[in-house]
């Protein structure tokens, strides 16, 4: 266990491994995204109620689902950083925050566009998922700004790790409290998210493909960013210098 950890903790090992995996991941990602998008745009049958707008939904649902992975990811990385002081975990956590913010933002944007069609409004405070996602974005931005405020890398690593762990708890608490709040508030809300969803196997297959595509995309972009970070932080080690000389 320990051996495995220290090996995984070695940025060099990760760099080489990810270098081998990256082409395959990129290939798989490209295939899934292409298939998903083409299916979505060309083949997805119009929904019986909402017409072609379910084309938005496949993007929205896939991105939304993936964006929920970030806080758990960062919190786990944070625990590893704090307990085992593994640099690699911090690099992953550092790079994950902005990507997570992108995902959250896209969830909000696509959700709003979809809402403007199906609800007739771009934003609705009565929906728990919306509010939770908004605050998840805020917390992610908080993590990013804390990172940029603390200049000392070591300090920033630990501080952000702590904040990610606390933040994970908080995202969960916000989610449940907001949900409950909305159940109890009894405001005449236009919809709940699952009210009249477009159905049909076509739709669900498209969504499944897109979800896989998004997880692949998440890994690819995270790996790319982490590799950059490794190059930067390990720039004085021999293997990076050799690599730079070769390039």
């Amino acid at each position: 266990m320990w051996l495995w950890f220290s090996k995984l903790g070695s940025p060099k090992w990760f760099y080489e491994l990810s270098g081998r995996w990256l082409p395959w991941l990129i290939a798989a990602m490209t295939i899934f995204i292409t298939v998903g998008v083409i299916w979505g745009l060309l083949y997805l049958p119009p929904d019986y109620q909402q017409g072609y707008t379910s084309r938005i939904l496949i993007v929205h649902v896939a991105v939304a689902g993936t964006s929920l992975a970030f806080f758990p990811l960062m919190a786990v990385a944070g625990v590893i950083t704090m307990v085992w002081r593994m640099k690699l975990a911090d690099m992953v956590a550092k790079m994950a925050a902005p990507i997570g913010a992108w995902f959250s933002f896209l969830t909000l944007a696509t959700g709003s566009i979809w809402g403007s069609i199906s609800w007739g409004t771009w934003w609705e405070w009565t929906d728990a998922r919306l509010v939770t996602m908004l605050f998840q974005l805020f917390l992610l931005l908080g993590v990013i700004s804390l990172r940029s405020a603390l200049e000392d890398q070591d300090k920033a690593a630990k501080a952000c790790a702590l904040l990610s762990i606390v933040g994970l708890i908080n995202v969960v608490v916000i989610k449940y409290s907001v949900e409950w709040w909305n159940v109890l508030h009894q405001v005449a809300s236009p919809v709940s998210l699952s009210a009249d969803s477009p159905n049909g196997p076509q739709f669900w297959i498209a969504i499944a493909i897109m979800i896989v595509a998004m997880y692949l995309f998440l890994s690819v972009s995270l790996i790319l960013a982490t590799r950059n970070e490794i190059l930067q932080r390990e720039r004085r080690s021999q293997w990076v210098q050799d690599l730079v000389r070769q390039s």
């Binding site: 060309l42 017409g51 992108w102 944007a109």
Partner: protein, 66 residues
């Protein structure tokens, strides 16, 4: 395969039953999002390598001069 395509004409494809602008902007955002998260790290990588190479050559020169 082709007959499964849900559009009979290109303009219909663009129009998307009246929601063309919104649907296309979703896919536009999606494309920007994907491109940004792939291309920016790649460009950054080039930048880093270039920068570090410069630094290394400077260091090499210095050590050669000494």
């Amino acid at each position: 395969m082709l007959e499964a395509i849900q559009f009979s004409s290109f303009s219909e494809f663009i129009h998307m039953g009246g929601y063309g602008f919104k649907i296309w902007s979703v896919y536009g955002l999606f494309a920007i999002f994907i491109a940004a998260n792939l291309l920016l790290p790649m460009r950054k990588r080039k930048q880093i390598l270039r920068e570090q190479k410069r630094r290394l050559t400077i260091n090499d020169e210095i050590s050669r001069n000494i």
